[in-house]
Amino acid sequence: MNLAATSFGIAMAAGALSIVAALTIPARARSALVGSGVAITGLAGVAAGAAAMTGQAFSLALTGVLPLSGVSFSLDALGGLFVAVTGGVAVATGIYGISYAREGSRSTQAALPVFVTAMLLVPVASTVGTFGLAWELMALASLLLVLTEHRHRPEVAGAGRWYAVLTHAGFITVLIGLLLLAGHATGDSFPELREAAGHLSPAVAGIVFVTTLAGFASKAGIVPLHAWLPRAHPEAPSHVSALMSAAMVNLGVYGIVRIGFDLLGGGPRWWWLLVLALGAVSAVYGILQAAMGTDLKRLLGYSTTENMGLVLIGVGAAGLFAASGDRGLAALALAAALLHVVGHATFKTLLFLAAGSVLHATGTRDLDALGGLRSPMPVTTAAFGWGALAASALPPGTAFVSEWLLLQALIHGLPASGVATAIAMPVAVAAVALTAGLAVATFVKAFGVGFLARPRSSAAGNAHESPATMLAGMAVAGAAAAVLAVAPSVVLPGVAAASNAALGAAGPAVTGVVTLRLAGIAGSLSPLMLTLALLAAVLATAGAVRLLSTRRARRAARLWDCGAGPLSARMEYTATSFAEPLQRVFDDVVQPETDVDVTHHRESDYLVAAVEYRRRVPDRIERRLYQPVLTALSAWGQAGRRLATGSVHRYLGYGFYAVCGVLLLVAVTR
């Protein structure tokens, strides 16, 4: 029994105990016990994942649990990465949930450890049956958690519906792909599938890849199957949103990497061009929607789509390079993508937990109504500020390192052969660049409008700091993001091991402790040195100013108001106005809807009493893609009503004809 196996066992035991605790303990101590249990599960998961990434693996097969096939688990470096990430996020959200989820009912509090445990089981599953079981458990538990607050708000039910339909549609497509593959193999365990994939015809392999890609891309929030993400994330409680955004969507990426690289053994170029294209479109569309948004959690949800798009750009590039034979560069691209997965988990958790703290204190998520939170909530403001910096790909930040790696991989990919690659790489670089710029704008808006200056509404004016466990949860996530920002070499060996496990390459793509050096390519970066240089420069400048300036004490002064009198909070820029120039530039893509409502005075139509301006940015892909499908389905449903005449005999007859028809078909085609 090695470290990986023991830790994983502890994680499962802690999860089971938390579930039992949630169902039996009385309300006063329940959330504390469940939260600590989830945190312990997470810690053990991190240990298991880290051990797996350093080379310790384990396998376990339990035949009695499920009829016919039993369940079997096998942890390798690739699965270990995702287990560790899920565990880390669980630690932060478990601690956070101790105060945040205090009023939950038994079932919702029990669903949290079920969700975490299921997410830990998915990367470990090594047969199709086990994978399906863990995936479905995860989907059901998360659905239950999304619907936690359905009594307080009517939109929660709609969000739950969308989430349920899309997640199950995704599951069905994944199952179709996997069963198609398993049908050509001798059994349904992953080693058997791997062996069968060698003999598959290209057409069948292509169908398997595309169907599983569709399902996993939907789970990862990739356009055009992302519609559940901006609905479910705002309505779910914040620690659940953090778990979904930072741990669950990664499992979509895990699925694509596992099936595409490991089980199917890489593939023709067009697979990876498709992945790259989907990633690029999602990244740009996601950040564009986030830049226009005014709902804080919806903005963060769209940012998840953007980051998963960037990850898929890396995965697609890795596949393209592997298909051209350049394994070293492919390992670099995949390592960049996986590092971005890890980094995104840290800063997205931090951002969602901070948003939850704001929601808890003010009761609103609307950026146009927030502001002035720096004095009443200093820790939350600092946390969100650090998360925003980490998310916006600026140094010193977590996303900066992974985007640097990604851009290095893309830039050095040009000499690789093929016109397709040659066109894809510049497009990918342009997409990454556009998202980087828009991400900076988005997070400046979110942080600056939401937290700085003066409160824009009374709800924000009455804010207060959150309880200590919520702050502790944010601190855990923030510390993890900071470590990744200045010392990414802590996780890089593990990430490289995972990438090599998937690709079958050897040798780490990125080495170095203080300075990251790329193997076989000229390029180096030292995030630590940059951060230290920046700090030194700040201190030097401050010292110089102190030396040179003669008067020290700062005098408080009035803000410039054009001499017209004191400024009111209504004169501040809101999130809508901040994003307005960008919205004008991208008007064709975004197509916002504006409403202007003018109320005149009773006496004369020339005198205006009030003007109300409302701007809504609908999700255009949803409108163009989903509306027609839903209308068609509704039309079919209406047409199908004619089959229901009310006669019991007719209904029975339908069944009889169907059975006879099937039997005839079976008899004839045998």
Binding site: R641, A644, T645, G646, S647, V648, H649, Y651, L652, G653, G655, F656, V659, C660, L663, L664, V666, A667, R670
Partner: protein, 222 residues
């Protein structure tokens, strides 16, 4: 082997009785006769299982055979008779949806279908028992047909029970015992279904004065 020939003959006898009773249920229209024929079929199924028990020398199967006899030849027909007593004058099936001649023709077609479908099953493990599987399949299809084409709730109930008899027969013929627990569970299910439907039929009779299902036309969504 002589023991074997005896076994095969007994098996064929039981299956023949099964098929014959099924055809009789399609042919006759008096409800009391239907119930009596159904009881005989119950005995035939029990007899089938007893033959298998004797061949396998299994006490468990013998116990199952006795249980089946009690249930399907005793309890269920009693319940059905009680429901019939409430029905009053209407002691015949009134104009089934498909007339008797066409029904018998349909039965012939269904028999051929059942034989065609069962061939792969027989090819899987040829033996005396599996050769009789098509009979069970036929009974299932006939039961479904009766369920669909009768107007009276009671006749439909008989059709449903016919299906169950057929499924039990096929189950025992192919696996020589689907497990005592499974059989118990299924029997309990069937008993409950019958009780519920009996209550339903009597309620319908009380409310509408007839148990003609064709009169019910409100079960739709508009």
């Amino acid at each position: 082997m002589p023991g074997d020939t005896g076994y095969v003959q007994a098996l064929d006898l039981a299956c023949g009785a099964l098929l014959l009773t099924a055809v009789l249920i399609v042919w006759r229209r008096e409800l009391a006769v239907l119930i009596r024929v159904f009881a005989v079929q119950g005995l035939a199924v029990a007899g089938l299982v007893a033959v298998l028990a004797a061949h396998e020398r299994s006490a468990e199967l013998a116990a199952v055979a006795v249980g089946l006899a009690v249930l399907r030849a005793g309890i269920l027909p009693a319940v059905l008779r009680r429901a019939l007593a409430k029905a009053g004058q209407a002691r015949r099936e009134t104009r089934p949806l498909v007339n008797v001649a066409a029904s018998l023709l349909a039965v012939a077609v269904l028999t051929m279908l059942a034989y065609a479908v069962s061939q792969p099953l027989i090819a899987l493990a040829p033996s005396a028992a599996t050769q009789a599987v098509p009979v069970g399949m036929t009974v299932v299809l006939i039961g479904f047909f009766v369920l669909v084409t009768r107007r009276r709730a009671l006749s439909q109930l008989v059709g449903f029970l016919l299906m169950d008899n057929g499924i039990t027969a096929v189950g025992f013929l192919t696996t020589s015992g689907a497990g005592l627990a499974v059989e118990l569970g299924v029997s309990l299910d069937v008993l409950l279904a019958v009780l519920v439907l009996q209550v339903l039929a009597s309620r319908m009779w009380d409310t509408f004065g007839s148990a003609d299902l064709d009169e019910l036309r409100e079960l739709r969504d508009s």
